[in-house]
Assembly symmetry: C2
Homo-oligomer: 185 residues x 2
């Protein structure tokens, strides 16, 4: 039997990211799992309008998407608990800059993307920032075939909101565009 | 050391969904993992413009998001391999309709959301459909606290594109908005 849950976003689990931006000239990071893929070169992220980071993204028109691994769960959660208005979250990490120069990235995160702000979708209480990916970075030992990120090794954090859960990634159990072929008649 | 990967979307793993729409009066489903959260009541999904399902979403201005469990991986993959132009994918599932009447949902999927089309973001090769969630449905035995989906029990499929991987969800290992509290000084 199905139970009706009302107007409830159930699109979980989602990957946890640390979004980086320079705000008032200093690197800042915020934990965001309400993210999405727009196409092969564009991602989106939904940020409550009250957040400090939004101003930096608007000002520089750049941001980064950093994917922390499970062993970074404390720092990752911390960046979602406190505001950059009061806490210097940039100094919690060793950072680096890429082509854009104003999108701070976290060295310790195994995967990083630097993005140019392409569009902002104005939702009632959220800015949805759409970023054009300018360059992606990955720790060398996680790269297979010279260009593919091994996400099992990246050990990302997955999030479900209502019971405040952080999950790890489980086993790779099937091949996409393959396991269903025997159903084609 | 970081390796540069070029313009490469690395926002994975993402949850695999089956998107439902009536097309030419019949239910159809397509496998989409390029999805996202816009805010508490809105999701987005990126669909290549060539797909058959897009016409149905435009026509009815409704669609559903169905979250299959790992034991549905064959049917799920199949719906990403073949087009509704040639194959009757709707008949592969027992379906139901909710409040909107034109957004077919899959009974076997533990979690379903029916959505009204709120906006379409026109990307060069993709339609990004933004849906306002009208009602969410969940199998009763997966609901805790009367309203929270237990995603560990839902056993969703997670996707990474470049190595064509389907993963399972791993262990719940930490509490969000909590594990990082000891870093607040």
């Amino acid at each position: 039997m199905k139970k009706e849950l009302g107007v409830k976003n159930c699109l979980y689990p989602m990957p946890v990211t640390l979004i980086g931006a320079n705000v008032e000239g200093k690197p800042n990071f915020i934990t965001i799992a309400h993210v999405g893929i727009m196409d092969f070169a564009h991602v989106c992220l939904s940020m409550g309008k009250i957040h400090y980071t939004n101003g930096g993204i608007r000002e520089n028109e750049t941001f980064s998407v950093n994917i922390p691994s499970a062993d970074m769960v404390r720092e990752t959660d911390y960046c979602g608990l406190v505001s950059g208005r009061k806490f210097d979250k940039g100094s919690a990490f060793e950072t680096f800059y890429g082509r854009l120069g104003t999108a701070p990235m976290i060295k310790k995160c195994p995967v990083n993307m630097e993005c140019r702000l392409a569009m902002t979708v104005d939702m009632p209480n959220h800015d949805v920032f759409v970023g054009e990916i300018v360059e992606a970075y990955c720790e060398e030992e996680l790269v297979t075939d010279g260009e593919t990120v091994d996400f099992a090794k990246a050990d990302p954090i997955l999030f479900a909101m209502y019971d405040k859960s952080y999950f790890r990634l489980g086993e790779r159990f099937a091949d996409a565009w393959s396991i269903g072929k025997d159903l084609i008649k």
